[in-house]
């Protein structure tokens, strides 16, 4: 994760995987989950979510198939594969370690020895 772009891409992938962890969703559903749960803090275009979905599918982390939306329209649904679930677990753990480390440093009240 050398460059900010990579960081963003990697982060986006984890968010998409997380959004799918509660069950299959179409792209719009994924976008809504991310938008709602972050209250718009992250400035992510919807289109970039689709790129993330298609790349995750290429890597075999998600699967897709066509189905009907709750409004009865043809929509492409994505779901996590086993590899995707595993990947989410790994990335979540890594992310938490990263955040804890950074947080510990940023919130330190005494100067480290």
């Amino acid at each position: 994760m050398a460059t900010p772009v990579d960081l963003l891409q990697g982060t986006l992938d984890v968010l998409v995987l997380k959004a799918l962890s509660w069950g299959p969703r179409h792209g719009h559903g994924v976008a809504r989950v991310i938008r709602d749960s972050t209250s718009g803090t992250l400035d992510v275009t919807d289109g970039s979510l689709y790129v993330a979905l298609h790349r995750l599918e290429e890597r075999g982390l998600v699967d897709s198939e066509w189905g009907l939306s709750d409004k009865g329209k043809r929509a492409r649904f994505y779901r996590l594969t086993t590899a995707g679930r595993q990947q989410l677990k790994t990335e979540t753990a890594g992310w938490q370690r990263y955040v804890q480390t950074v947080t510990r440093l940023l919130t330190a009240t005494t100067q480290p020895a």
């Binding site: 289109g47 599918e57 939306s69």
Partner: protein, 892 residues
């Protein structure tokens, strides 16, 4: 830009990817609009906001599409692999179910592929592998051309002048591969083979020493310190690889040489056909003052030039011609009619074996074609039986393409199995070739290596596609309804299938006729060649070379006495009828010299006499039984000091004296009668019959016989006619020589029969190989005929039953079956004869005494094939005759 293969397939569903993306994006924007309007946005504002939130549609579409394409490509490949695996598994299962069919097909293919692989491995090593020298494409073999001479040699003095005056080569070097020395001072005297090289020769080739240094130009003059180079094989075998031999002294022909180096193991001093590496390499310059290297008119050396960059062989040779113009003027006698010629070094290696290899490659290609036709026919008959299976699978929804692919896969699997077995056959075949033909250039290097294996793989795949094509197309065109219907009535494969099989059989017969005719021509040619009268009686004669070293026998007189003693001892051996000594045997290839006749004008260069010259004892003609024609024999009175005499063979009289008696004519060795000729005049006193001194296939150029008593000779061939077996005589001969001088070895012991056999070894090899391939072709073709006819009888059992029931005689039934076989064979033979007539020319270079369109051979081949066809049809015909109409008609 490079487009991967899978992308080309992708075009078929690229539209799908695009449509899916469009639909997905559209759904998203619609859903977002709905979401926004539900929260109070106006439809127009909601649409604008939804699009804003989506971002750059084109960019994202592009990114998504490429991700999708990569995934689709990967999946496509995976799918293909799975299908291929399935096809192969299915093919293996279906081949296992019919082991007899599979075995016959695999063996047939293995024969074809094996023969091709074996011959290719020879061609690969002989003709395709570059010579083991630095930048071999720039090396050129060079030789003098002289009226009446066809040996690719150059004389030492002319070579020196070429070297100094030419401008087209970086350098020119020479070598002489057939020197031989007696090595003493290291245990028993032994004979070692030597090569003489000019000082620059080895550097010019670009070869390296393993130890010490090479021979250099500084070693290369009569006054230089005597140095020798050891061949690596000799270094290992004779000196056990002991490095201390470097700098030590080697005594060769009683001269001391310092060993200065050992050649690297892979170095070949001579590029020429069949030349073994010599044991020792010496600078030729040491001998430049002695005969024959001091004779300008006597070419004896092989020359090799290294072209300057960007100079062609033609340019370099025409530059040598310029030098020759000068040399002809400066030495008008010895260089009369001097010319120069050159060819790439590889030409020198392959020129004798190339036609034979080309013919053999063509022959094995024909064998492979026949094998293909045969297996194709087998697969067809099998697919006839499977017509129902295919129809059923089509009915169950298998795509026509899938069935075609399935049949092709089976063919390729068969071919690969055949190829694997074929490589085994090739390994054995190459070993057999090596034992049959030891002398051929670089043949010993032949083995099955990576290029050969790739060749076998390529041929196998190609073969599989070739013989699989007809059956695959046939199976693909299976008519569903008719196949199921016919299938209900038995296993008829349909008329078109039988026609295809018949056509394949006709092709097999035609190709077999071509091969048979080719081998017939070689057999006939070989018979003619061996029937040639060599001009003497070879049976019961053995010959062996004895050479007395100049160091131990400084005076020729001493040597003469010793040789006379030896002959006296040999004549005393029980069973010896006659024994004699000669410098040359009455076979190829004798020493040569230009001759000038006193009565003939020297200016007539085009008729300059180049004759074989042999120095012989009076008994030479009696021992070898060369008939005497006229004049008188060499007599004991023709000794040193007496008037010099000579005998000539008939050819000389015919060629130079228009058939008039040459007796009394005077001649001398060497070209012109000018300043440089110091040899004395001799008088022709007798004429003997010619012997085939220029190869059995060639008219002899004529031989001049000089009495040994009047020549300086320290050795030659002891020739013995006896009633005892050759081995026994050889042992006695050795004993006699040991009594005279135990330090002199007996060399090149051979019976004259064997010596003659060696001369026909090449043609014999080609004949045997072609006959072998023709036999394989014949066997395959007969199996083909049998298969088709036998199948036909099975198929027509019902019809034959009806015929018999209606009163047809057994004889008629047999005639029907045999007639069908003979019709196929006759068409095949007719086509084959036409092909043989058309292609016969390519053999003409290898034929002796028989034309490439010899009617006898073509007729015999045709009759033979018809007979084979008849034989192949007999068993099915007998079966047809035994058909019981009641059973046959009930079965139908």
């Amino acid at each position: 830009m490079h487009v991967p293969t899978w992308r080309r397939y992708l075009r078929f569903w690229r539209s799908d990817i695009d449509a899916d993306l469009a639909e997905e994006f559209r759904f998203h924007v619609d859903a977002e609009m709905e979401y926004l309007t539900a929260r109070g946005w106006t439809p127009a504002a909601a649409r604008e906001e939804a699009l804003r939130r989506f971002g750059d549609v084109e960019q994202y579409r592009c990114d998504c599409r490429s991700a999708d394409e990569r995934r689709a490509g990967r999946e496509h490949r995976k799918e293909n692999l799975i299908v291929l695996k399935q096809d192969i598994r299915f093919a293996l299962r279906s081949l296992r179910q019919q082991p007899a069919f599979t075995a016959i097909a695999v063996i047939t293919l293995a024969l074809g592929i094996g023969a091709n692989t074996a011959i290719f491995s020879v061609i690969n090593s002989v003709m395709l592998t570059p010579l083991p020298y630095r930048e071999p494409h720039r090396l050129v073999m060079l030789w003098e051309t002289r009226p009446g001479s066809d040996r690719p040699l150059v004389s030492y003095p002319n070579f020196k002048d070429w070297q100094q005056r030419q401008r087209g080569f970086e350098d020119i070097g020479v070598y002489y591969p057939w020197a031989s020395f007696t090595m003493t001072g290291r245990g028993d005297a032994e004979r070692v083979d030597g090569a003489l090289v000019s000082g620059n020769y080895l550097q010019l080739l670009g070869v390296r020493p393993a130890l010490g240094r090479l021979v250099t130009p500084a070693d290369d003059s009569p006054g230089s310190a005597r140095v020798a180079l050891l061949d690596n094989g000799f270094f290992q075998s004779r000196f056990g690889g002991d490095r201390s031999v470097l700098g030590s002294t080697l005594v060769l022909d009683d001269q001391a040489y310092t060993v200065v180096g050992v050649l690297a193991p892979d170095v070949r001093v001579s590029y020429r056909a069949g030349d073994q590496n010599p044991d020792v390499v010496l600078p030729v310059g040491l001998f430049a003052a002695d005969a024959p290297y001091n004779r300008r008119g006597q070419p004896d050396l092989f020359a090799v030039g290294r072209l300057k960059p960007d100079v062609t062989v033609q340019q370099a040779v025409s530059d040598l011609q310029r030098v020759n113009t000068e040399l002809r003027t400066e030495y008008p006698g010895e260089n009369a009619g001097l010319g120069a010629a050159g060819a790439p070094l590889m030409y020198g290696v392959v020129r004798f074996i190339k036609p034979a290899l080309q013919i053999l490659m063509a022959a094995v290609a024909l064998v492979l074609l026949i094998a293909c036709a045969n297996v194709s026919s087998l697969v067809l008959s099998r697919s006839a039986a499977r017509q129902r299976e295919f129809a059923l699978r089509t009915a169950l929804g298998a795509a026509r393409g899938h069935i075609v692919r399935q049949v092709l896969t089976e063919s390729v699997v068969l071919a690969l199995a055949g190829g694997t077995l074929g490589v085994g056959i090739a390994v054995a075949g190459v070993r057999l070739l090596l034992t049959l033909q030891r002398g051929a250039p670089r043949l010993a290097d032949s083995h099955v290596n990576t290029p050969v294996l790739l060749f076998a793989l390529g041929v196998s795949l190609l073969t599989g596609l070739l013989f699989g094509l007809a059956p695959a197309l046939q199976s693909g065109s299976a008519q569903l309804v008719s196949a199921l219907k016919e299938g209900g009535r038995g296993t008829s494969g349909g008329a078109s299938l039988q026609r295809t099989r018949a056509a394949l059989t006709v092709a097999e017969v035609a190709l077999a006729v071509v091969l048979l005719a080719g081998s017939g021509l070689l057999v006939r040619s070989f018979a003619r060649l061996t029937a040639v009268d060599p001009g003497f009686q070879p049976s019961h004669v053995i010959a062996a070379m004895v050479r007395l070293p100049a160091g131990k026998y400084p005076s020729v007189e001493q040597a003469r006495v010793t040789l006379d003693q030896l002959l006296a001892k040999v004549r005393a051996i029980p069973g010896v009828q006659s024994a004699t000594l000669g410098s040359d045997l009455p076979i190829c290839c004798q020493g040569q010299s230009t001759i000038s006749f006193a009565s003939r004008p020297e200016a007539d260069q085009s008729k300059l006499a180049l004759l074989n010259v042999a120095v012989v004892d009076p008994e030479y003609f009696e021992t070898l039984q060369i008939p005497f024609v006229g004049g008188r024999h060499i007599e004991t009175g023709d000794r040193a000091g007496a008037p010099l005499v000579a005998l000539v063979s008939e050819r000389v009289a015919k060629k130079f004296f228009a058939g008039a008696s040459p007796i009394g004519e005077r001649l001398r060795l060497g070209g012109g009668g000018q300043v440089n000729n110091t040899s004395s005049w001799r008088t022709i006193v007798g004429v003997v019959r010619d012997t085939r001194t220029d190869g059995l296939a060639e008219a002899p150029r004529g031989t001049l016989y000089l009495p040994r008593a009047q020549e300086k000779m320290r050795g030659g061939f002891v020739i013995v006619r006896s009633t005892r077996p050759a081995e026994q005589m050889t042992a006695q001969l050795r004993r006699a020589l040991a009594e005279v001088d135990p330090d002199v070895p007996l060399e090149r012991v051979q019976t004259m029969d064997a010596a003659l056999a060696v001369e026909v070894e090449g043609p014999k090899f080609s004949m045997l190989m072609l006959t072998l391939f023709a036999a394989v072709a014949l066997a395959l073709a007969s199996v083909g005929i049998y298969g088709v006819i036998s199948y036909n009888v099975t198929q027509r059992t019902g019809e034959i039953g009806v015929r018999v029931a209606l009163g047809a005689q057994r004889r008629d039934v047999a005639a029907l079956v045999v007639g069908q076989a003979m019709a196929m064979a006759a068409v095949g033979v007719a086509i084959g004869v036409l092909l043989a007539l058309w292609g016969g020319k390519s053999l003409s270079a290898m034929l002796f005494g028989v034309g490439p369109r010899d009617p006898l051979v073509l007729g015999a081949a045709s009759v033979f094939l018809l007979a084979v066809a008849l034989a192949a049809a007999l068993a099915p015909a007998l079966r047809a005759m035994r058909i019981d109409p009641t059973i046959a008609m009930r079965a139908d």
